[in-house]
Every structure is written in structure tokens, then in C-alpha cells.
């Protein structure tokens, strides 16, 4: 079974001026290239955000440290959070979605290729604008003007009275711009999935990655918009004399919180559902079995999307809402644990009775499973409102959400990179380096984020640039910092692997993992047009059917 790449001789062989290559990439509308641009952009900011985190951890290594001033520290945690969420995890998820969805559904590109490019460049501009804040303008506190209001930008701290200068505006405008980029990509993904599937690929035959990307995009549509709306209101307050969040004019600080978290909570599902998608593609292939309970996985994801729109005020348990309101949000928050737990069980069921190959992508997914379990359980703890009255706003919460974002999401992202790098570049990432990265990162991750729960329990609030000695927080903070350095080293190993393998990795071929979805049926990397002729499918695993014609999946679905 040869690949379907038509042998077209291009001028690839001859050396091309680098300007031409640059121009090609800068003006591309090809979903694969835009996908890679998104991913590279995100990996760059991953390192930047990691540096911001390291600066904070050095400052917090011991009490009353003076590595950085409070002003700089406050900018660090604001920029670290904003960067990691909007310019690392979201772009990398859009990148993978962009690259994989058309290939997986048998299409030649996304529904709107130019909108695709436009959305990417909007996102890119947002990040650049945000970072320009470090150099732009002259804030009240001196050199540099990066926002320092926290990534939630609570009112009235963001009003002109408490945030003079332009730092808050960089936050607001940069995220408005990248928000429109995100909405554009979401529109594109939904239109692609609904309108461009190859013949035979009913919605019930799509790879789970496509389903989960669909749900994630739906969430983007209805949750990024509230953030954009709130940000427009903030600009009106700051520049047109508006009073949306002006408590001195009768305005409400709490209404910013509601608007923000109506975005903020679905946002975390936007971040994590693509991670579920990666796990749902990788775990079956490396267990050599189909996903256990495909329909239930789809239903659970859709449920998470819906219920996830109703839990937002669990971020606001301490603001003094009525007891009935608090109780309602406890109920919805706990309820979302049900479809989430179901997914863990289904992944478990996939591995059960399989033949697990513990290669690097699977290693990361196994780490994901344990860490996601723990993160979900600390989430349940925080969902019990009175427990949150103690743990909220403390390092326990910081530990919980980093367990999710790093331990669950980033681990899946690493797994996805190892899994699809061969498809994107035609070369395998180095397995030994991958295992070194995994174990180093695992150790560093657990050193940092396991022990981070403890200062929270011992009363340490978050967003503090220093703390009092003798409160029992000192040694834990030191251990946390050491773990951060280890993670940093692991990340460098990762980057080294990427660079080295791009040039010297073993050639991958079409289907190095013996997988079953359509992207593995074309060459690595795929030709510009993806498929020589549009495929036709009769089951959820078209390549399984091809490899096992005597016993195709289509007989059992």
C-alpha cells in the first residue's frame, strides 16, 4: 500500500533564498503551516513564561528575599498567567487543531484558509503587544510598564485611580486582539468539521480529537466573547469616563468578577479538552485497542461543555454571595466531576486488556492520567465552598491549577508533540532524550506542585512577593523552587530534542506508530494538498480497516 503522494518534481532540491522561504511562511494560508506557526509561537512563549515563573520562585525561595522588587514581582505573576494561558496553551491547542483536523476528517484545508491566517496573526500581534508593555511608556513605578493587576484584572484595581499609566491597557488591548483571533479560529474549526468531512465520515465516525476540538471551539465562541465584552467595558471606564466598574459611582466590583469568570471557567475547559483529545488518540494506539466507549466519551465531553458554563462562581465563593447561590455552584461544580471521571475510567478501560507500549507519547499520557486524577480531586475539595473559604486564594489553589495545566495539559501536549512530530517533520524525536525529559520533568513537577499544596494549607496566600518567616512556609518554598529549576532543565532537554531531531532524527515514514486515523495514511510531512483523492471511510478507524481487511471495524460499529 503505497502512499498517495503524486510524484511531482518541484524545485525543492535547489537552494532557495531564505527570504523566499520566509515570505512563504509569512503569507501562508495552509493549515499545516499555520498549525506549525502556532505551535512554535507557543513553545517560544512557554520558555518566556517559564523564565517569569523562575524569577518568582527565586524571589520566594526564602522569606524577605529581595531578588526583585514587589512591583516587578507583581508584573511577573500577571504576565506569567496571561502568557501561559493566552499565548502558550491556547495557541498550541489551536495549532494542533489546525494541523490535524483537516487531515483527520479527510479534507484538503480548513473551511476559511485566509481567515485562518488572519486569526493566527491577530493572536501573534496580541502577544507582541502584551510584551511590548515591558518597554513601552513610563508607568508610575519607573522603567517598564507591564501589567501588574493579576491575570484576572479585578476591578477596581484596574481603574485609572489605582492603575495609572498604560500597563492595564496593554493587558486589555492585547487580549482583545488575540480574543478576536481565537474566535476566528473557532469559527473556522466548526465550519470545517461540519462542512468539510470526507464522504462516509458521519459525525459518529470522526476521530475523538475532532469531536473534542468541536466542543472546545463552541466553548470559545460563547466564553471568549464575555471577556471581550468586559474588556470593552473596561476601556470605556478607563478612557471614556464610564462607570461599569466604578464603585464610587454605584458600580459593582463583583460584576467584573462574574463577567470574567463566565469566561474564565469555560476557558479552563478550552485548555483541557484538547488535552483530552490528545490522550484519546494516543492511549488507544499505544494500548493497541480502540477507545473504550466512544459514544460515551463524546457525550461526556459535550456534557462537560454544557455544565462547564454553569460553574463559574466557584471562583467567587469568598465574595459573600448568598448561601443558596454558593450551594448552587457547589452542586454544579461537583456535578462536572461525573463526566470528567467517566473519561478517566474510559481511558483506563482502553488500556485494560491491551498491549501497552510505553513509548514516550504514552509515558506522558500515563503521567497525565495520574496527575489529572489528583488535580480533579483537589478540584472537588475546592468545590466544597467552606473548604474553599480556607483554601481559596492560597497556594493550595495555585497547586491545584498548576497540577491541571502542567501535570495534565502540558504532559498531554508533550505526548502530542512526540506523537505528531514525525508526521509534521518526517523525522522521529529521539526516544532516549524523550525519556530523559519525561523523568526529569516528572521529578521536578512533583517536587514543585505536590509540595505546593502544603503552604496553602498552612495559610500562605497567593500573589505575595514575600512572606514572614516562622509561619512554617520556608522550607516548602525552597523545595518548590528546586523543583522549578529541574523542570526548566527538562524543558531545555525538550527543546534540544526538537532541534536535534529536526535535523538528524531517524526518518519516520507515513505511519511510524501503526495508527488508525487518516493523517497516518499520507506521507510525513503530508503534501500541500493532503490527499491525492479525497478518502472515503466506513468506520472510526479507516486505517484499521485497511490493515485488517478481513475484520474491519465497520462490522462492529
Amino acid at each position: 500500500m503505497s502512499s498517495d503522494v503524486m510524484a511531482i518534481q518541484t524545485a525543492e532540491g535547489a537552494a532557495r533564498p531564505w527570504v523566499e522561504t520566509l515570505h512563504e511562511w509569512a503569507t501562508t494560508v495552509d493549515h499545516k503551516r499555520l498549525g506549525i506557526l502556532y505551535i512554535l509561537y507557543a513553545l517560544f512563549f512557554l520558555v518566556v513564561g517559564g523564565i517569569e515563573a523562575t524569577i518568582m520562585r527565586i524571589q520566594l525561595m526564602r522569606p524577605h528575599n529581595d531578588f526583585v522588587s514587589p512591583q516587578v514581582f507583581n508584573r511577573m505573576f500577571t504576565m506569567h498567567g496571561t502568557t501561559m494561558i493566552f499565548f502558550v496553551v491556547m495557541p498550541i491547542m489551536f495549532g494542533f487543531a489546525n494541523y490535524l483536523v483537516p487531515l483527520m476528517i479527510g479534507a484538503r484545508d480548513m473551511a476559511f484558509p485566509r481567515l485562518n491566517a488572519f486569526s493566527f496573526w491577530l493572536t501573534a500581534l496580541g502577544g507582541i503587544l502584551l510584551y511590548f508593555s515591558f518597554a513601552g511608556g513610563s508607568g508610575l513605578y519607573g522603567a517598564g510598564n507591564a501589567p501588574d493587576v493579576g491575570w484576572w484584572a479585578y476591578a477596581p484595581l484596574t481603574s485609572r485611580a489605582f492603575s495609572p499609566g498604560h500597563s492595564t491597557d496593554y493587558w486589555t488591548i492585547a487580549l482583545l486582539i488575540s480574543g478576536f483571533g481565537s474566535i476566528g479560529t473557532a469559527i473556522n474549526i466548526i465550519a470545517t468539521i461540519l462542512s468539510m468531512r470526507c464522504p462516509g465520515m458521519k459525525l459518529s465516525r470522526m476521530p475523538l480529537l475532532a469531536w473534542m476540538t468541536l466542543v472546545m471551539s463552541g466553548l470559545v465562541l460563547i466564553s471568549i466573547s464575555p471577556l471581550s465584552a468586559a474588556q470593552i467595558m473596561l476601556v470605556v471606564d478607563r478612557y471614556l469616563g464610564g462607570h461599569f466598574f466604578d464603585t464610587q459611582a454605584g458600580g459593582s466590583a463583583a460584576i467584573w468578577m462574574h463577567f470574567f469568570w463566565i469566561f474564565g471557567h469555560p476557558e479552563v475547559y478550552i485548555l483541557v479538552i484538547p488535552a483530552f483529545a490528545f490522550a484519546s488518540e494516543i492511549i488507544p494506539v499505544f494500548s493497541r485497542k480502540p477507545i473504550f466507549g466512544y459514544p460515551v466519551m463524546v457525550a461526556a465531553t459535550v456534557c462537560i461543555g454544557f455544565i462547564g458554563m454553569s460553574v463559574w462562581a466557584h471562583h467567587m465563593f469568598t465574595i459573600g454571595m448568598e448561601s443558596s447561590a454558593n450551594a448552587f455552584f457547589v452542586l454544579t461544580t461537583m456535578a462536572i466531576a461525573v463526566p470528567t471521571g467517566i473519561k478517566i475510567f474510559n481511558w483506563l478501560g482502553t488500556m485494560w486488556g491491551g498491549k501497552i507500549q510505553v513509548k514516550t507519547p504514552m509515558l506522558f499520557c500515563i503521567g497525565f492520567l495520574f496527575q489529572f486524577l489528583i488535580a480533579g480531586l483537589t478540584g472537588i475539595m475546592l468545590g466544597a465552598a467552606p473548604f474553599d473559604w480556607q483554601l481559596g486564594g492560597s497556594y493550595f489553589v495555585v497547586a491545584h491549577f498548576h497540577y491541571m495545566i502542567v501535570g495534565a495539559i502540558l504532559f498531554c501536549v508533550f505526548g502530542a508533540v512526540y506523537y505528531w512530530f514525525p508526521k509534521m517533520t518526517g523525522r522521529m524525536l529521539n526516544e532516549s532524550l524523550g525519556k530523559v525529559q519525561f523523568w526529569l520533568f516528572l521529578i521536578g513537577f512533583h517536587l514543585t506542585f505536590d509540595f505546593m499544596h502544603i503552604p496553602g494549607v498552612l495559610g500562605m496566600p497567593r500573589r505575595i512577593y514575600t512572606y514572614e518567616p516562622g509561619r512554617g512556609w520556608d522550607s516548602w518554598n525552597l523545595i518548590i523552587t528546586i523543583g522549578a529549576f529541574i523542570q526548566g532543565i527538562a524543558t531545555l532537554v525538550f527543546v534540544a530534542n526538537l532541534v536535534f531531531s529536526y535535523f538528524k532524527g531517524t526518518k519516520a515514514g507515513n505511519d511510524p506508530w501503526d495508527a488508525w486515523t487518516l493523517e497516518w495514511s499520507v506521507s510525513s510531512p503530508p503534501p500541500d494538498y493532503n490527499f491525492a483523492s479525497i478518502p472515503m471511510v466506513a468506520s472510526r478507524r479507516p486505517l484499521w480497516d485497511r490493515k485488517h481487511p478481513e475484520d474491519p471495524d465497520s462490522r462492529y460499529e
Partner: protein, 198 residues
């Protein structure tokens, strides 16, 4: 060289998927609705909470005529779209132009009302909570009308140059969906501001 085809796959009898333009526009409408919802929520939340200044009851006048203009423009654009589907270009152009005129009248009416409110009644965006939420909500809508009118004008120009025919009817219909959305939003804004809010 066979394409990737499952052994049992056959060309489905009717493999038709929704038109991607419509899906895309529907998604945009959903996202925009979410934005408008937040502004409406803010408006409703702040009703009666202004510490000073004119109240809605004191200064608002219901813009019946201009509302009729805008809502009937939905009818004209619908008819225009239908005519284009049947290839009747001149009828399409005429109705399309009428749509733009009606939309423009609505904008003019909004401008007129704002002028009265600002210069005669002293209500600006910074006067009080009502001023802030009113101008933001109505202004956001007016911005969407403006963008819509720009798009409609572009199509009008292309149409006058003879480039809009039956083959473009699907795309024109997608644009008319946007216009219908803008009108639907006005129904909500009108109800919230001029009916409920007083």
C-alpha cells in the same frame, strides 16, 4: 493507485454537508450574541442603581419610526436575496439599495437621539451608570449596523458593476443573515432599553 478507502465504503447516496459560509456566519452570530448578552446583562443589572443624573424615564423617547425602518430592512433584504436566487438582478439591486437606505435612516435616527440626549438632556457616557450602559449597548449595536452597511455597500458597488448574479446568491444570503442578526439584536435592545427599562 487507490485512495484511502475502507474496504466496505461506498459512496453514500447523498453526502451533503451544510454550506460552510452559513455555518461560519452562524458561529459568528453566536459569538456576537454572547457579547451583546453581557452588555444587556450589565444594562439590566444597573437599572435604578445610578446615584445621580437623569433616569431613563426622564429622558428616553421611544424611536418607533426608526425601529420600523430597521425592521423593514430585514424584509427588503430577504426579498432582495430571494430575487437574486432567481437571477432577477435589477429587483435585487433595487431592494438591496432600499435596505441600505433604511439602515442608514436608522443610524441617522440614533445619531439624532444621541445629539438630543447629550446637548439637551445632559446625558453622556460618563454622566452616571445609566449613561454608561445606555451608550455602550446602543453604541455597540450601532457599530454593528455601521459595519453591516459598509458590507452591504460593497455588495451594492459590485452589483452596480454587474458582478453580482445568481452564482453569488449563497454568499449574499450569508451576508443577509448577518443583517437579520443585527435587526434581531435591535429587537432585544429596544425591549430592554425602551420597554423594560422605563
Amino acid at each position: 493507485m487507490s485512495a484511502i478507502t475502507s474496504p466496505l465504503a461506498q459512496t453514500p447516496e447523498a453526502w451533503s454537508l451544510p454550506y460552510r459560509g452559513k455555518v461560519g456566519m452562524a458561529c459568528l452570530i453566536i459569538a456576537e450574541s454572547a457579547i451583546f448578552t453581557i452588555f444587556v446583562v450589565a444594562y439590566l443589572f444597573y437599572l435604578g442603581k445610578s446615584l445621580t443624573g437623569p433616569t431613563p424615564r426622564e429622558v428616553l423617547e421611544t424611536p418607533i419610526f426608526y425601529t420600523i425602518c430597521l425592521l423593514s430592512s430585514s424584509l427588503t433584504i430577504h426579498l432582495a436575496s430571494r430575487f437574486l436566487e432567481r437571477g432577477k438582478r435589477s429587483a435585487f439591486l433595487g431592494l438591496w439599495f432600499l435596505t441600505i437606505v433604511l439602515g442608514g435612516l436608522f443610524l441617522f435616527g440614533t445619531g439624532q437621539e444621541w445629539h438630543r440626549l447629550i446637548y439637551e438632556r445632559g446625558l453622556t457616557i460618563s454622566t452616571n451608570l445609566f449613561g454608561t450602559t445606555y451608550y455602550s449597548l446602543v453604541g455597540l449595536h450601532a457599530t454593528h449596523v455601521t459595519v453591516g452597511l459598509l458590507m452591504l455597500s460593497v455588495v451594492l458597488l459590485f452589483g452596480l458593476a454587474g458582478r453580482v448574479g445568481h452564482e453569488q446568491s449563497a454568499r449574499v444570503e450569508v451576508l443577509s443573515l448577518y443583517w437579520h442578526f443585527v435587526d434581531a439584536v435591535w429587537v432585544v435592545v429596544f425591549t430592554v432599553v425602551y420597554v423594560l427599562g422605563r
